[in-house]
């Protein structure tokens, strides 16, 4: 197995009028070929910023301040925008939420797919590009003749599928899926996830899946990283983390989601709310909400260290 992506100490901040928002702090993870990593956490914990950082398409004011993103042996952080353009879509492609406005409303769906292909493979002519777009739509379960439709003629689920098809247009080495299926109804969401799983197996895709929904990640990913307030608090095999969550936050998170198959347990929510990332709490960022808070939690940042079996990392002073 070879490592597709190796992120080390990634730190991304947003510059605002009131100061730096520390959206992502010291995040490290690795993805092997054919493997899927799920990044889970509450909204606003920096999951999407991680995804945007990988492609370096951060919104205005966002900046990677530290760390490295080694993709396929190449560090992306120092690359210029022009060099980065070659990596985008061909190296790393991203699937946005289908319910959002991620498809341009004034261009035909087919044209938008062909545009992605022809940007990276300039010698493909329009006609064969269109043919590829048709087979891509077929691959994701949309009738091929729909290439001539505009996005508003698609249903939400079809739009999500078209986005997936577009992401696969250049055979990317890594697929980033940012909350796929979210805001669609449950059945369509389930179909979307099933499609993603199938594609992953069939095309041997490496994937980063971002979601606030643990059950989605549990079904799709081998590895899981739990993020809280910009930091990874727990990292490891999906099975380990869901069976035996170590970090108090992960424990809370797991309890907050119903399990379809499991026994009936009382769902609990984590009291309090995520911190203001302009002035995050010192020490462990979870300490104001933690039921097991100790003095040391308020002073020192807990390092992410191995716990229990190999590859299960947790950042907590309890261990």
């Amino acid at each position: 197995m070879s490592t597709v992506l190796d992120v080390q100490h990634l730190t991304t901040h947003y510059r605002t009028l009131r100061g730096w928002v520390r959206a992502v702090e010291d995040v490290s993870f690795k993805i092997e070929k054919g493997q899927a990593l799920g990044i889970a956490g509450e909204s606003g914990c920096g999951k999407t910023t991680v995804a945007m950082s990988l492609l370096k398409i951060l919104p205005k004011g966002g900046r990677i301040r530290k760390g490295s993103i080694i993709f396929d042996g190449l560090d992306l952080v120092p690359l210029s925008n022009n060099e980065m353009r070659q990596i985008r879509w061909k190296g790393i492609a991203i699937v946005f939420q289908g319910a959002m406005n991620a498809l341009n409303p004034v261009f035909k769906v087919g044209d938008q797919i062909v545009e992605a292909i022809r940007t990276h493979e300039p010698d493909v002519d329009r006609r064969s590009g269109m043919d590829r777009a048709r087979s891509l739509l077929e691959l994701v379960g949309v009738e091929p003749h729909r290439v001539d439709n505009y996005p508003h003629e698609f249903s939400g689920g079809m739009r999500q599928r078209a986005l997936i098809a577009m992401a696969l247009a250049c055979n990317p080495k890594l697929l980033v899926a940012d909350e796929p299926g979210t805001a669609l109804d449950v059945i369509v969401q389930a179909q979307t996830l099933k499609l993603m799983r199938e594609l992953k197996d069939r095309l041997d895709l490496s994937m980063v899946m971002i979601s606030h929904d643990l059950s989605i990640i549990a079904e799709t990913c081998e590895k899981v990283a739990i993020m809280y307030a910009g930091r990874i608090v727990e990292y490891g095999d999906a099975e380990d983390i869901f069976k035996e969550p170590l970090h108090p936050y992960t424990q809370g998170l797991v309890k907050a989601f119903p399990s379809i198959k499991g026994e009936r347990v009382r769902l609990t929510s984590i009291p309090g709310s995520p911190p203001d990332l302009l002035n995050p709490p010192t020490g462990c960022r979870f300490n104001p909400r933690c039921p097991y808070v100790m003095d040391v939690c308020r002073k020192e940042v807990p390092p992410l260290k191995m716990q229990g079996n190999e590859d299960h990392l947790v950042a907590c002073h309890l261990y």
Binding site: Y14, T16, L17, P59, G61
Partner: protein
């Protein structure tokens, strides 16, 4: 109940203070606000500083340049206004002190008289015997160039004891140094008890004046002939009695109108352009504010009505609005003003009544979009009165829109009024910036920058103040334009 209104007031005050702070934190808005305060100050100060309509007063010579130009090298020749006689009306005995007499022994014959014309006194010369007497005042003219114009307005004489056989000869003169004398007016007085004035104005622009002075066929303007250099000049009159008699002379006020004056000089009629500029601010702001209030008020009314009442009312109102939007406003205004007459109130009302359509559409779509929002649904489900919720929510959203559009409607109205005045369809009785520019163009004075430039800057200044305020209000209120904080 009382405490309720009180706390409400306090709340509103706090909201206003917050709003003000928000505006001042935006650089553009703060600049705009400052500019508005300056122009409003100018408009309020105008009638206090210049109580008289400046266009009716000749403050300086024709096309006088601003005073400060004379401090630049190219302004070396410019002259300023000069008042030669301090008390031309002879209102007190001390008025005699500035005058000298050719024959000092005769001075008792000269006195101040209470004989008045138009509430001024006069200087009286009495002689019991045939005598010639000169009363004069010598003054220094300090400028290299001539004045633009000099006048001796309303000089009048009255004789007693004169007859056809024994006339009293009166002669008014202005001398340069000792070698050159210009007679401005000479008269053989033969009738008594009536005030007599020259048949021509004692104004350097009058063609009769050089003839009386014996300067004929001169190519140069008379002021340049008289005040040809920096020198001592003498203003005075000679009276020759051939029999006992008395003569009263009044209003010997020689005024030299310079070709440099004030902050912004003068126009082709010698009116103070700075005063006109201040007065113009009044007209501009008045028209701009009132007309835009009318327009925005109408727009609010139509927009709310169309938004509230769906169906036929909405349809009719919006079709009508769309139709009105198609009519080109300036041509329509020109035609309508030509019909109803160019009074300032007509102009305000017409600008107001042609400026509501855009805002009505904005308000309507806002009301419609608020109606669609989920919280209205939720509130309705919770049993709250739809009307009350709509009113409070719409009010909150509409207020900010109204501020923005009001601020942007004012410059439009100001520019329209300026355009009308420039085209000669403004109110001729009120001074406006467009009219000042129009006057300048009418006499083809495009090179007289001190006349053309300031009113244009004035229009731009006032408009820009509102544009800046409106633009930054839009940035503050419109969440889509708001910057990440």
């Amino acid at each position: 109940m009382k405490s309720g209104t009180e706390s409400n007031l306090k709340f509103n005050l706090r909201r206003f203070a917050n709003f003000l702070r928000l505006m001042l934190s935006n650089k553009m808005a703060a600049v705009g606000l400052f500019m508005f305060l300056v122009s409003a100050g100018a408009a309020l100060a105008a009638p206090i500083v210049y109580p008289q309509n400046p266009q009716n007063v000749a403050s300086a010579g024709f096309l006088a340049q601003p005073q400060w130009v004379s401090y630049f090298p190219e302004g070396y020749y410019l002259s300023s206004n000069m008042v030669v006689v301090n008390n031309p009306g002879f209102n007190s005995p001390s008025a005699l002190q500035e005058w000298s007499y050719s024959n000092t022994a005769q001075s008792p014959y000269v006195s101040i008289s209470t004989a008045t014309i138009a509430s001024t006194g006069s200087i009286q010369v009495f002689s019991s015997s045939p005598l010639s007497l000169t009363v004069y005042k010598t003054f220094h003219y300090p400028y290299r160039g001539p004045p633009s114009r000099f006048t001796l307005p309303s000089v009048a004489v009255r004789s007693q004891g004169a007859s056809a056989s024994n006339p009293i000869v009166f002669s008014l003169f202005l001398n340069r140094g000792v070698e050159r004398s210009f007679t401005l007016w000479s008269k053989n007085l033969t009738t008594n008890d009536a005030w007599i004035s020259p048949s021509y104005p004692l104004d350097s622009g009058s063609p009769s004046l050089p003839i009386a002075a014996g300067v004929q066929g001169g190519l140069l303007p008379f002021t340049e002939v008289v005040f040809s250099r920096e020198d001592d000049y003498t203003l005075g009159f000679t009276v020759t009695f051939s029999a006992p008699g008395t003569i009263n002379v009044t209003s010997l006020g020689l005024r030299l109108l310079g070709n440099a004056y004030g902050l912004l000089g003068a126009d082709s009629r010698g009116s103070d352009l700075f005063a006109e500029l201040l007065w113009g601010a009044r007209t501009s702001l008045f028209v701009g504010l009132v007309a835009s209030f009318i327009g925005i008020g109408l727009g609010l009314l139509v927009g709310l009505m169309a938004g509230y009442k769906t169906g036929i009312v909405d349809e009719v109102l919006m079709r009508f609005t769309d139709m009105m939007l198609v009519l080109p406003s300036l041509p329509l205004l020109l035609v309508l003003v030509a019909v109803v007459g160019p009074s300032i109130f007509n102009i305000i009302i017409l600008i107001g009544f042609l400026g509501w359509m855009g805002f009505a559409r904005v308000i309507r779509s806002q009301v419609l979009s608020i109606k669609e929002r989920p919280f209205i649904e939720a509130a309705r489900a919770a049993g709250a009165g739809t009307r009350k919720i709509l009113t409070t929510h719409i009010f909150r959203n509409v207020v900010s829109l109204t501020y923005v559009n009001l601020a942007l409607a004012v410059p439009a109205a100001i520019l329209t009024e300026a355009a009308l005045s420039f085209l000669g369809l403004g109110d001729p009785l009120s001074i406006s910036w467009g009219q000042i520019i129009s006057n300048a163009q009418a006499v083809n004075a495009l090179n007289d920058w001190w006349w053309i430039i300031p009113p244009g800057i004035g229009i731009a200044f006032v408009s820009l103040s509102f544009v800046l305020i409106g633009y930054s209000l839009d940035e503050i209120f419109n969440p889509k334009l708001r910057r990440r904080r």
